[in-house]
Protein backbone atom coordinates (compact mmCIF):
# COMPACT_ATOMS: atom_id res chain seq x y z
CA UNK A 1 0.00 0.00 0.00
CA UNK A 2 1.39 3.42 -0.95
CA UNK A 3 2.03 6.06 1.69
CA UNK A 4 -0.72 8.64 2.02
CA UNK A 5 -0.16 11.98 0.33
CA UNK A 6 0.90 14.70 2.79
CA UNK A 7 -1.55 17.36 1.58
CA UNK A 8 -4.61 17.06 -0.62
CA UNK A 9 -7.18 19.81 -0.75
CA UNK A 10 -10.09 19.85 -3.15
CA UNK A 11 -12.46 22.70 -3.84
CA UNK A 12 -11.35 24.60 -0.76
CA UNK A 13 -13.42 27.73 -0.22
CA UNK A 14 -13.41 30.31 2.55
CA UNK A 15 -15.95 33.10 2.44
CA UNK A 16 -16.31 35.99 4.84
CA UNK A 17 -19.72 37.32 3.96
CA UNK A 18 -19.49 38.61 0.40
CA UNK A 19 -15.73 38.28 0.37
CA UNK A 20 -14.24 35.10 -1.08
CA UNK A 21 -10.77 34.79 0.47
CA UNK A 22 -10.05 31.33 -0.93
CA UNK A 23 -11.88 30.19 -4.02
CA UNK A 24 -11.96 26.48 -4.90
CA UNK A 25 -8.33 25.76 -4.20
CA UNK A 26 -6.99 22.35 -5.19
CA UNK A 27 -3.55 21.53 -3.80
CA UNK A 28 -1.55 18.34 -3.81
CA UNK A 29 1.76 18.18 -2.00
CA UNK A 30 3.56 14.92 -2.63
CA UNK A 31 5.93 13.20 -0.24
CA UNK A 32 9.43 14.71 -0.46
CA UNK A 33 8.25 17.91 -2.11
CA UNK A 34 9.50 21.30 -1.17
CA UNK A 35 6.33 22.93 -2.33
CA UNK A 36 6.22 26.67 -2.83
CA UNK A 37 2.89 28.33 -2.24
CA UNK A 38 3.35 31.57 -4.02
CA UNK A 39 1.20 34.63 -4.28
CA UNK A 40 1.11 38.34 -3.69
CA UNK A 41 0.26 39.61 -0.23
CA UNK A 42 -3.44 39.12 0.37
CA UNK A 43 -3.90 36.44 -2.27
CA UNK A 44 -5.20 33.83 0.18
CA UNK A 45 -2.04 31.90 1.10
CA UNK A 46 -2.31 32.30 4.86
CA UNK A 47 -6.04 31.63 4.90
CA UNK A 48 -5.40 28.41 2.98
CA UNK A 49 -2.70 27.35 5.44
CA UNK A 50 -4.96 28.15 8.39
CA UNK A 51 -7.58 25.84 6.92
CA UNK A 52 -5.00 23.11 6.37
CA UNK A 53 -3.99 23.35 10.03
CA UNK A 54 -7.59 23.28 11.24
CA UNK A 55 -7.46 26.80 12.64
CA UNK A 56 -10.36 28.00 10.55
CA UNK A 57 -13.25 26.09 9.05
CA UNK A 58 -13.58 26.03 5.29
CA UNK A 59 -16.87 27.23 3.88
CA UNK A 60 -16.67 24.36 1.41
CA UNK A 61 -14.26 21.75 0.13
CA UNK A 62 -12.16 19.03 1.66
CA UNK A 63 -8.72 18.73 3.22
CA UNK A 64 -6.72 15.60 3.88
CA UNK A 65 -3.36 15.55 5.64
CA UNK A 66 -1.83 12.10 5.31
CA UNK A 67 -5.34 10.91 4.56
CA UNK A 68 -6.83 12.42 7.71
CA UNK A 69 -9.42 15.16 7.77
CA UNK A 70 -8.71 17.97 10.28
CA UNK A 71 -12.41 18.81 10.48
CA UNK A 72 -13.35 15.25 11.43
CA UNK A 73 -10.24 13.97 13.19
CA UNK A 74 -9.37 17.20 15.03
CA UNK A 75 -5.87 17.36 16.44
CA UNK A 76 -5.22 13.74 15.41
CA UNK A 77 -5.15 14.92 11.80
CA UNK A 78 -2.07 16.96 12.70
CA UNK A 79 0.00 13.92 13.70
CA UNK A 80 3.28 14.29 11.83
CA UNK A 81 2.41 17.85 10.83
CA UNK A 82 4.00 21.00 12.23
CA UNK A 83 4.65 24.57 11.29
CA UNK A 84 3.34 28.05 11.77
CA UNK A 85 1.16 30.63 10.09
CA UNK A 86 1.82 34.37 10.05
CA UNK A 87 5.00 33.92 12.02
CA UNK A 88 5.57 31.81 15.11
CA UNK A 89 4.17 33.15 18.38
CA UNK A 90 5.14 32.33 21.95
CA UNK A 91 4.45 33.33 25.53
CA UNK A 92 6.72 36.38 25.99
CA UNK A 93 6.93 35.98 29.76
CA UNK A 94 8.32 32.43 29.53
CA UNK A 95 11.83 31.47 28.46
CA UNK A 96 12.48 29.85 25.09
CA UNK A 97 13.08 26.51 26.76
CA UNK A 98 9.93 26.79 28.90
CA UNK A 99 7.89 27.62 25.80
CA UNK A 100 9.21 24.48 24.15
CA UNK A 101 8.49 22.42 27.28
CA UNK A 102 4.95 23.78 27.27
CA UNK A 103 4.48 22.87 23.61
CA UNK A 104 6.00 19.44 24.19
CA UNK A 105 3.39 18.91 26.92
CA UNK A 106 0.73 19.72 24.33
CA UNK A 107 2.18 17.05 22.00
CA UNK A 108 1.79 13.32 22.01
CA UNK A 109 4.93 11.22 21.94
CA UNK A 110 8.39 12.11 23.12
CA UNK A 111 8.66 15.74 22.06
CA UNK A 112 10.12 16.73 25.43
CA UNK A 113 13.16 14.52 24.89
CA UNK A 114 14.04 16.48 21.73
CA UNK A 115 14.17 19.95 23.27
CA UNK A 116 17.96 20.13 23.54
CA UNK A 117 18.39 18.65 20.09
CA UNK A 118 16.09 21.16 18.36
CA UNK A 119 17.58 24.09 20.26
CA UNK A 120 20.94 22.94 18.95
CA UNK A 121 19.63 22.70 15.38
CA UNK A 122 18.35 26.28 15.40
CA UNK A 123 21.36 27.50 17.37
CA UNK A 124 19.39 28.88 20.29
CA UNK A 125 20.75 26.75 23.07
CA UNK A 126 22.72 29.62 24.59
CA UNK A 127 19.63 31.84 24.76
CA UNK A 128 17.15 29.17 25.80
CA UNK A 129 16.94 30.45 29.37
CA UNK A 130 16.05 33.99 28.30
CA UNK A 131 12.48 35.20 28.10
CA UNK A 132 11.06 35.13 24.59
CA UNK A 133 9.90 38.72 25.11
CA UNK A 134 13.54 39.73 24.72
CA UNK A 135 14.17 37.69 21.56
CA UNK A 136 14.83 39.33 18.20
CA UNK A 137 12.52 38.59 15.28
CA UNK A 138 15.03 36.18 13.80
CA UNK A 139 15.37 34.29 17.07
CA UNK A 140 11.60 33.92 17.28
CA UNK A 141 11.51 32.59 13.74
CA UNK A 142 14.17 30.05 14.66
CA UNK A 143 12.34 29.15 17.85
CA UNK A 144 9.29 28.60 15.64
CA UNK A 145 11.24 26.10 13.58
CA UNK A 146 12.45 24.45 16.81
CA UNK A 147 8.86 24.21 18.06
CA UNK A 148 7.86 22.58 14.79
CA UNK A 149 10.77 20.13 14.85
CA UNK A 150 9.83 19.03 18.37
CA UNK A 151 6.98 17.11 16.77
CA UNK A 152 9.39 15.17 14.56
CA UNK A 153 7.26 16.20 11.59
CA UNK A 154 6.87 14.48 8.25
CA UNK A 155 5.22 17.62 6.88
CA UNK A 156 6.34 21.13 7.70
CA UNK A 157 4.06 24.09 6.89
CA UNK A 158 5.95 27.36 6.96
CA UNK A 159 4.25 30.66 6.29
CA UNK A 160 6.69 33.31 5.11
CA UNK A 161 9.52 31.97 7.30
CA UNK A 162 12.06 34.59 6.18
CA UNK A 163 9.83 37.64 6.45
CA UNK A 164 11.46 40.33 8.56
CA UNK A 165 14.85 38.63 8.68
CA UNK A 166 18.09 40.33 7.70
CA UNK A 167 20.02 38.86 4.74
CA UNK A 168 22.12 36.62 6.98
CA UNK A 169 19.02 35.44 8.81
CA UNK A 170 17.29 34.71 5.51
CA UNK A 171 20.27 32.72 4.30
CA UNK A 172 20.40 30.72 7.54
CA UNK A 173 16.67 30.05 7.43
CA UNK A 174 16.85 28.85 3.83
CA UNK A 175 19.81 26.65 4.64
CA UNK A 176 17.81 25.17 7.47
CA UNK A 177 14.78 24.51 5.27
CA UNK A 178 17.05 22.96 2.63
CA UNK A 179 18.68 20.73 5.26
CA UNK A 180 15.33 19.61 6.67
CA UNK A 181 14.08 18.82 3.19
CA UNK A 182 17.21 16.80 2.49
CA UNK A 183 16.40 14.77 5.60
CA UNK A 184 13.12 13.72 3.99
CA UNK A 185 10.70 16.21 5.51
CA UNK A 186 8.03 17.39 3.09
CA UNK A 187 7.85 21.17 3.17
CA UNK A 188 4.96 23.41 2.21
CA UNK A 189 6.44 26.88 2.08
CA UNK A 190 4.25 29.91 1.63
CA UNK A 191 6.09 32.92 0.33
CA UNK A 192 5.85 36.01 -1.78
CA UNK A 193 9.62 35.98 -2.33
CA UNK A 194 10.23 34.54 -5.77
CA UNK A 195 13.93 34.04 -5.29
CA UNK A 196 13.27 32.04 -2.17
CA UNK A 197 10.82 29.76 -3.92
CA UNK A 198 13.09 29.37 -6.94
CA UNK A 199 15.98 28.51 -4.65
CA UNK A 200 14.21 26.02 -2.44
CA UNK A 201 11.20 24.52 -4.14
CA UNK A 202 10.70 21.77 -6.70
CA UNK A 203 6.96 22.32 -7.12
CA UNK A 204 4.83 25.40 -6.83
CA UNK A 205 1.29 26.61 -6.74
CA UNK A 206 0.59 30.22 -7.58
CA UNK A 207 -2.49 31.76 -6.05
CA UNK A 208 -4.16 34.91 -7.25
CA UNK A 209 -7.23 36.45 -5.64
CA UNK A 210 -7.93 33.20 -3.83
CA UNK A 211 -7.66 31.03 -6.95
CA UNK A 212 -4.84 28.74 -8.03
CA UNK A 213 -3.55 29.92 -11.39
CA UNK A 214 -0.75 27.37 -11.66
CA UNK A 215 0.18 24.18 -9.87
CA UNK A 216 3.00 21.91 -10.93
CA UNK A 217 6.71 21.52 -11.31
CA UNK A 218 8.78 24.67 -11.12
CA UNK A 219 10.98 23.35 -13.92
CA UNK A 220 7.96 22.84 -16.17
CA UNK A 221 6.69 26.29 -15.33
CA UNK A 222 9.99 27.83 -16.31
CA UNK A 223 10.20 25.63 -19.41
CA UNK A 224 6.79 26.79 -20.63
CA UNK A 225 8.25 30.21 -20.86
CA UNK A 226 11.43 29.17 -22.72
CA UNK A 227 11.64 31.70 -25.48
CA UNK A 228 14.77 30.56 -27.33
CA UNK A 229 18.55 30.79 -27.30
CA UNK A 230 21.24 33.41 -27.64
CA UNK A 231 24.44 32.56 -29.49
CA UNK A 232 27.69 34.50 -29.43
CA UNK A 233 30.52 33.40 -31.70
CA UNK A 234 33.82 34.58 -33.13
CA UNK A 235 32.01 35.22 -36.43
CA UNK A 236 28.37 36.08 -35.90
CA UNK A 237 27.64 36.68 -39.59
CA UNK A 238 28.66 33.14 -40.62
CA UNK A 239 26.98 31.74 -37.54
CA UNK A 240 23.73 33.50 -38.50
CA UNK A 241 23.91 32.08 -42.01
CA UNK A 242 24.52 28.61 -40.65
CA UNK A 243 21.55 28.95 -38.26
CA UNK A 244 19.30 29.94 -41.15
CA UNK A 245 20.34 26.80 -43.03
CA UNK A 246 20.07 24.47 -40.04
CA UNK A 247 16.97 22.19 -39.85
CA UNK A 248 14.78 22.75 -36.74
CA UNK A 249 16.09 26.26 -36.11
CA UNK A 250 13.74 29.20 -36.61
CA UNK A 251 13.30 32.85 -35.75
CA UNK A 252 16.92 33.64 -36.44
CA UNK A 253 17.86 37.25 -35.82
CA UNK A 254 20.86 39.34 -34.95
CA UNK A 255 20.45 41.00 -31.58
CA UNK A 256 22.91 43.06 -29.54
CA UNK A 257 26.03 41.32 -30.85
CA UNK A 258 24.43 37.90 -30.62
CA UNK A 259 22.33 35.62 -32.78
CA UNK A 260 18.97 34.73 -31.33
CA UNK A 261 16.86 31.82 -32.46
CA UNK A 262 14.28 29.21 -31.38
CA UNK A 263 14.59 25.48 -31.55
CA UNK A 264 14.20 22.29 -29.53
CA UNK A 265 17.11 20.76 -27.62
CA UNK A 266 17.86 18.23 -30.37
CA UNK A 267 18.12 20.92 -33.08
CA UNK A 268 20.30 23.09 -30.84
CA UNK A 269 22.65 20.15 -30.20
CA UNK A 270 22.94 19.57 -33.95
CA UNK A 271 23.59 23.29 -34.47
CA UNK A 272 26.46 23.29 -31.97
CA UNK A 273 28.09 20.37 -33.86
CA UNK A 274 27.60 22.16 -37.16
CA UNK A 275 29.21 25.31 -35.75
CA UNK A 276 32.21 23.25 -34.67
CA UNK A 277 32.50 21.56 -38.04
CA UNK A 278 32.36 24.99 -39.71
CA UNK A 279 35.18 26.05 -37.40
CA UNK A 280 33.12 28.90 -35.92
CA UNK A 281 34.29 29.46 -32.37
CA UNK A 282 31.36 29.56 -29.90
CA UNK A 283 31.87 31.87 -26.96
CA UNK A 284 28.34 31.53 -25.54
CA UNK A 285 25.19 29.49 -26.18
CA UNK A 286 22.59 30.43 -23.58
CA UNK A 287 18.96 29.35 -23.29
CA UNK A 288 16.69 32.33 -22.79
CA UNK A 289 13.90 31.76 -20.31
CA UNK A 290 11.54 34.11 -18.65
CA UNK A 291 12.39 34.54 -14.98
CA UNK A 292 10.03 33.23 -12.34
CA UNK A 293 9.35 36.84 -11.55
CA UNK A 294 8.16 37.51 -15.09
CA UNK A 295 6.00 34.39 -15.01
CA UNK A 296 4.65 35.28 -11.61
CA UNK A 297 3.77 38.79 -12.64
CA UNK A 298 2.17 37.45 -15.79
CA UNK A 299 0.05 35.01 -13.81
CA UNK A 300 -0.91 37.38 -11.05
CA UNK A 301 -1.27 40.53 -13.10
CA UNK A 302 -4.02 42.81 -11.85
CA UNK A 303 -3.73 41.50 -8.30
CA UNK A 304 -5.11 43.95 -5.82
CA UNK A 305 -4.77 41.94 -2.66
CA UNK A 306 -8.06 43.16 -1.38
CA UNK A 307 -9.32 39.78 -0.40
CA UNK A 308 -7.05 38.87 2.42
CA UNK A 309 -6.51 42.42 3.57
CA UNK A 310 -10.18 42.59 4.34
CA UNK A 311 -10.01 39.28 6.18
CA UNK A 312 -7.09 40.37 8.31
Amino acid sequence: MSDPTPVVSRGLVKRYGELVAVDHVDLTVERGDVFGYLGPNGAGKTTSLRMLLGLIRPTAGSIRLFDRNPLVDGAKALAGVAGFVEGPTFYPYLSGRKNLRLLAAYDDGDSASRIDQVLEIVELRDRAKDRVGGYSHGMRQRLGIAAALLRDPKLLLLDEPTTGLDPAGMRDMRDLVRRLASEGITVLLSSHLLGEVEELCNRVAIIRKGRIVYEGSLRELLATAASGYRLRTADNERARALCLAQPGISGVASLEGTVSFQGDEEAVAALSIALGQARIGVTALVPETASLEELFLGLTEGETGDAEKAVA
Binding site: A75, L78, F84, P88, L102, Y106, G109
Partner: protein, 272 residues
Protein backbone atom coordinates in the same frame (compact mmCIF):
# COMPACT_ATOMS: atom_id res chain seq x y z
CA UNK B 1 -8.91 13.09 27.63
CA UNK B 2 -8.59 13.64 31.41
CA UNK B 3 -4.81 13.11 31.40
CA UNK B 4 -4.43 15.45 28.42
CA UNK B 5 -6.58 18.13 30.07
CA UNK B 6 -4.50 17.61 33.21
CA UNK B 7 -1.31 18.43 31.32
CA UNK B 8 -2.88 21.55 29.88
CA UNK B 9 -4.09 22.51 33.38
CA UNK B 10 -0.58 22.04 34.77
CA UNK B 11 0.88 24.39 32.16
CA UNK B 12 -1.94 26.89 32.56
CA UNK B 13 -0.87 27.14 36.21
CA UNK B 14 2.76 27.60 35.13
CA UNK B 15 1.63 30.43 32.86
CA UNK B 16 -0.40 32.02 35.65
CA UNK B 17 2.56 31.82 38.00
CA UNK B 18 4.73 33.62 35.43
CA UNK B 19 2.39 36.62 35.12
CA UNK B 20 2.33 39.72 37.31
CA UNK B 21 -1.46 40.04 37.33
CA UNK B 22 -1.69 36.69 39.10
CA UNK B 23 0.35 38.01 42.01
CA UNK B 24 -1.35 41.38 41.93
CA UNK B 25 -4.68 39.70 42.71
CA UNK B 26 -3.32 37.16 45.15
CA UNK B 27 -1.21 39.64 47.12
CA UNK B 28 -4.13 42.09 47.25
CA UNK B 29 -6.40 39.39 48.63
CA UNK B 30 -3.85 38.59 51.34
CA UNK B 31 -2.97 42.18 52.09
CA UNK B 32 -6.52 43.40 52.72
CA UNK B 33 -7.07 41.40 55.98
CA UNK B 34 -3.64 42.47 57.26
CA UNK B 35 -4.38 46.13 56.60
CA UNK B 36 -7.83 45.65 58.13
CA UNK B 37 -6.35 44.25 61.35
CA UNK B 38 -3.66 46.93 61.55
CA UNK B 39 -6.25 49.70 61.16
CA UNK B 40 -8.43 48.20 63.90
CA UNK B 41 -5.41 47.90 66.17
CA UNK B 42 -4.57 51.57 65.89
CA UNK B 43 -8.15 52.84 65.95
CA UNK B 44 -11.08 52.47 68.32
CA UNK B 45 -14.47 51.24 67.13
CA UNK B 46 -15.12 48.69 64.45
CA UNK B 47 -17.48 47.43 61.76
CA UNK B 48 -20.34 46.69 64.13
CA UNK B 49 -22.98 46.91 61.36
CA UNK B 50 -21.75 43.82 59.51
CA UNK B 51 -22.13 40.16 60.54
CA UNK B 52 -19.73 39.34 63.42
CA UNK B 53 -18.38 42.90 63.25
CA UNK B 54 -19.16 43.64 66.87
CA UNK B 55 -17.12 40.60 67.99
CA UNK B 56 -14.10 41.52 65.90
CA UNK B 57 -11.82 42.05 68.92
CA UNK B 58 -13.08 39.00 70.85
CA UNK B 59 -11.33 36.48 68.63
CA UNK B 60 -9.16 36.38 65.53
CA UNK B 61 -11.69 33.94 64.07
CA UNK B 62 -14.08 36.83 63.41
CA UNK B 63 -11.58 38.66 61.20
CA UNK B 64 -11.76 36.47 58.05
CA UNK B 65 -15.58 36.45 58.21
CA UNK B 66 -15.76 40.24 58.38
CA UNK B 67 -13.14 40.68 55.67
CA UNK B 68 -14.98 38.14 53.51
CA UNK B 69 -18.15 40.18 53.91
CA UNK B 70 -16.40 43.31 52.62
CA UNK B 71 -14.34 41.61 49.94
CA UNK B 72 -17.26 39.57 48.63
CA UNK B 73 -18.93 42.66 47.20
CA UNK B 74 -16.37 43.73 44.60
CA UNK B 75 -12.84 42.91 45.78
CA UNK B 76 -12.86 39.19 45.18
CA UNK B 77 -15.02 39.42 42.01
CA UNK B 78 -12.48 41.90 40.62
CA UNK B 79 -9.53 39.65 41.44
CA UNK B 80 -11.34 36.69 39.91
CA UNK B 81 -12.18 38.71 36.82
CA UNK B 82 -8.53 39.67 36.39
CA UNK B 83 -7.61 36.07 35.68
CA UNK B 84 -10.81 34.48 34.35
CA UNK B 85 -11.39 37.37 31.97
CA UNK B 86 -7.87 37.16 30.67
CA UNK B 87 -7.20 33.44 30.43
CA UNK B 88 -8.53 32.95 26.89
CA UNK B 89 -8.35 36.55 25.67
CA UNK B 90 -4.63 36.72 26.47
CA UNK B 91 -4.06 33.93 23.96
CA UNK B 92 -5.71 36.12 21.34
CA UNK B 93 -3.67 39.13 22.43
CA UNK B 94 -0.39 37.21 22.21
CA UNK B 95 -1.59 35.33 19.10
CA UNK B 96 -0.61 32.10 20.84
CA UNK B 97 -3.90 30.31 20.31
CA UNK B 98 -2.74 29.18 16.87
CA UNK B 99 0.49 27.94 18.45
CA UNK B 100 -1.21 25.63 20.93
CA UNK B 101 -4.07 24.62 18.63
CA UNK B 102 -1.63 23.19 16.09
CA UNK B 103 -0.25 20.64 18.54
CA UNK B 104 -1.84 17.35 19.59
CA UNK B 105 -4.37 18.57 22.12
CA UNK B 106 -8.03 18.86 21.19
CA UNK B 107 -9.75 22.19 21.69
CA UNK B 108 -11.95 20.69 24.39
CA UNK B 109 -8.91 19.57 26.37
CA UNK B 110 -7.35 23.02 26.15
CA UNK B 111 -10.58 24.66 27.24
CA UNK B 112 -10.95 22.26 30.17
CA UNK B 113 -7.40 23.03 31.31
CA UNK B 114 -8.13 26.75 31.22
CA UNK B 115 -11.39 26.39 33.15
CA UNK B 116 -9.69 24.33 35.85
CA UNK B 117 -6.86 26.86 36.14
CA UNK B 118 -9.25 29.81 36.46
CA UNK B 119 -11.33 27.98 39.10
CA UNK B 120 -8.18 26.96 40.97
CA UNK B 121 -7.08 30.58 41.11
CA UNK B 122 -10.51 31.60 42.41
CA UNK B 123 -10.30 28.99 45.15
CA UNK B 124 -6.72 29.87 46.09
CA UNK B 125 -7.49 33.60 46.33
CA UNK B 126 -10.52 33.07 48.59
CA UNK B 127 -8.77 30.64 50.91
CA UNK B 128 -5.54 32.68 50.96
CA UNK B 129 -7.56 35.69 52.06
CA UNK B 130 -9.36 33.64 54.70
CA UNK B 131 -6.26 32.01 56.13
CA UNK B 132 -4.23 35.23 56.20
CA UNK B 133 -7.20 36.95 57.85
CA UNK B 134 -7.36 34.22 60.48
CA UNK B 135 -3.63 34.42 61.15
CA UNK B 136 -3.60 38.22 61.33
CA UNK B 137 -6.70 38.30 63.54
CA UNK B 138 -5.38 35.56 65.82
CA UNK B 139 -2.06 37.36 66.24
CA UNK B 140 -3.94 40.53 67.17
CA UNK B 141 -6.74 39.13 69.35
CA UNK B 142 -6.05 35.42 69.87
CA UNK B 143 -7.73 32.25 68.69
CA UNK B 144 -10.81 32.12 70.93
CA UNK B 145 -14.37 30.77 70.67
CA UNK B 146 -16.59 32.61 68.19
CA UNK B 147 -19.94 34.19 68.88
CA UNK B 148 -22.37 33.10 66.18
CA UNK B 149 -24.99 35.34 64.55
CA UNK B 150 -27.53 33.72 66.89
CA UNK B 151 -25.49 34.96 69.85
CA UNK B 152 -24.29 31.55 71.03
CA UNK B 153 -20.63 30.65 71.47
CA UNK B 154 -18.99 28.01 69.31
CA UNK B 155 -15.57 26.55 70.08
CA UNK B 156 -12.55 27.87 68.23
CA UNK B 157 -12.14 24.52 66.43
CA UNK B 158 -15.79 24.56 65.39
CA UNK B 159 -15.42 28.17 64.34
CA UNK B 160 -12.47 27.23 62.17
CA UNK B 161 -14.57 24.52 60.52
CA UNK B 162 -17.31 27.10 59.89
CA UNK B 163 -14.73 29.40 58.33
CA UNK B 164 -13.56 26.72 55.88
CA UNK B 165 -17.16 25.83 54.99
CA UNK B 166 -18.02 29.51 54.49
CA UNK B 167 -15.03 30.09 52.23
CA UNK B 168 -15.99 27.00 50.22
CA UNK B 169 -19.60 28.13 49.73
CA UNK B 170 -18.52 31.65 48.83
CA UNK B 171 -16.00 30.17 46.36
CA UNK B 172 -18.86 28.39 44.67
CA UNK B 173 -20.64 31.69 44.06
CA UNK B 174 -17.41 33.29 42.93
CA UNK B 175 -16.89 30.40 40.51
CA UNK B 176 -20.09 31.61 38.82
CA UNK B 177 -18.37 34.98 38.29
CA UNK B 178 -15.27 33.21 36.98
CA UNK B 179 -17.40 31.21 34.53
CA UNK B 180 -18.97 34.41 33.22
CA UNK B 181 -15.47 35.89 32.90
CA UNK B 182 -14.36 32.88 30.88
CA UNK B 183 -17.35 33.29 28.59
CA UNK B 184 -16.55 36.96 27.97
CA UNK B 185 -12.88 36.14 27.54
CA UNK B 186 -13.72 33.55 24.90
CA UNK B 187 -16.31 35.59 23.06
CA UNK B 188 -14.74 39.06 23.11
CA UNK B 189 -11.07 37.96 22.78
CA UNK B 190 -10.31 41.16 24.68
CA UNK B 191 -8.90 41.07 28.21
CA UNK B 192 -9.91 44.57 29.29
CA UNK B 193 -13.48 44.18 28.05
CA UNK B 194 -13.75 40.78 29.73
CA UNK B 195 -12.39 41.95 33.08
CA UNK B 196 -14.61 45.04 33.20
CA UNK B 197 -17.62 43.12 31.90
CA UNK B 198 -17.19 40.40 34.51
CA UNK B 199 -16.94 42.91 37.34
CA UNK B 200 -20.04 44.70 36.06
CA UNK B 201 -21.87 41.37 35.93
CA UNK B 202 -20.93 40.60 39.55
CA UNK B 203 -22.01 44.05 40.72
CA UNK B 204 -25.24 43.89 38.73
CA UNK B 205 -26.08 40.54 40.31
CA UNK B 206 -25.60 42.01 43.76
CA UNK B 207 -27.52 45.15 42.89
CA UNK B 208 -30.47 43.12 41.63
CA UNK B 209 -30.40 41.14 44.86
CA UNK B 210 -31.12 44.28 46.93
CA UNK B 211 -33.43 46.20 44.59
CA UNK B 212 -37.09 46.42 45.62
CA UNK B 213 -39.40 44.40 43.39
CA UNK B 214 -36.94 41.59 42.81
CA UNK B 215 -38.10 39.50 45.76
CA UNK B 216 -39.48 36.68 43.59
CA UNK B 217 -36.23 36.14 41.68
CA UNK B 218 -33.88 37.06 44.50
CA UNK B 219 -33.24 33.48 45.72
CA UNK B 220 -32.00 32.59 42.22
CA UNK B 221 -29.66 35.52 41.69
CA UNK B 222 -25.95 34.95 41.95
CA UNK B 223 -25.65 37.99 44.23
CA UNK B 224 -27.84 36.29 46.82
CA UNK B 225 -25.54 33.27 46.87
CA UNK B 226 -22.66 35.56 47.84
CA UNK B 227 -24.26 35.65 51.28
CA UNK B 228 -25.24 31.99 51.53
CA UNK B 229 -22.34 31.37 53.91
CA UNK B 230 -24.13 33.43 56.56
CA UNK B 231 -26.25 30.30 57.11
CA UNK B 232 -23.25 28.60 58.72
CA UNK B 233 -22.98 31.33 61.33
CA UNK B 234 -26.39 30.63 62.84
CA UNK B 235 -27.01 28.11 65.59
CA UNK B 236 -28.21 25.67 64.53
CA UNK B 237 -26.83 26.17 61.01
CA UNK B 238 -29.35 27.33 58.42
CA UNK B 239 -28.75 24.93 55.56
CA UNK B 240 -31.49 26.22 53.24
CA UNK B 241 -29.41 29.06 51.66
CA UNK B 242 -26.40 26.77 51.50
CA UNK B 243 -28.22 24.00 49.63
CA UNK B 244 -29.84 26.53 47.32
CA UNK B 245 -26.43 28.05 46.65
CA UNK B 246 -25.19 24.65 45.47
CA UNK B 247 -27.67 24.22 42.68
CA UNK B 248 -28.09 27.89 41.75
CA UNK B 249 -24.30 28.35 41.53
CA UNK B 250 -24.04 25.12 39.55
CA UNK B 251 -26.34 26.69 36.95
CA UNK B 252 -24.39 29.97 36.91
CA UNK B 253 -21.25 27.89 36.47
CA UNK B 254 -22.49 25.45 33.86
CA UNK B 255 -24.43 27.70 31.49
CA UNK B 256 -21.63 30.19 30.69
CA UNK B 257 -19.08 27.39 30.53
CA UNK B 258 -21.17 25.40 28.04
CA UNK B 259 -21.66 28.50 25.92
CA UNK B 260 -17.94 29.36 26.10
CA UNK B 261 -16.99 25.77 25.26
CA UNK B 262 -19.17 25.77 22.14
CA UNK B 263 -17.73 29.09 21.00
CA UNK B 264 -14.17 27.94 21.67
CA UNK B 265 -14.74 24.69 19.84
CA UNK B 266 -16.03 26.31 16.67
CA UNK B 267 -14.22 29.63 16.53
CA UNK B 268 -12.02 30.52 13.59
CA UNK B 269 -8.52 31.32 14.75
CA UNK B 270 -7.50 34.06 12.37
CA UNK B 271 -4.85 36.42 13.63
CA UNK B 272 -5.00 35.15 17.23
Amino acid sequence: MIAAAGRVYEWELVKLLAQKRTYLGLVSAMLVPVVFVVVLLIQAGGPSQVPLGRYIRETGLATPFVVLFFMSIWGLPLITALVAGDIVAAESHNATLKTILTRSRERGEIFAGKVLAALTYTLVVVFAMGIVGLLAGSIAWGFHPLTSLSGTKVSAAHGFGLLLASLAVYSLALAGVAAFGLLLSTVTRNSAASVVGTLMFALLMQLLAVLPGTESIRPYLLGTQFEAWHGFLRTPADWAPVFRAFWVCALYLALPLIAAYLVFLRRDVAGD
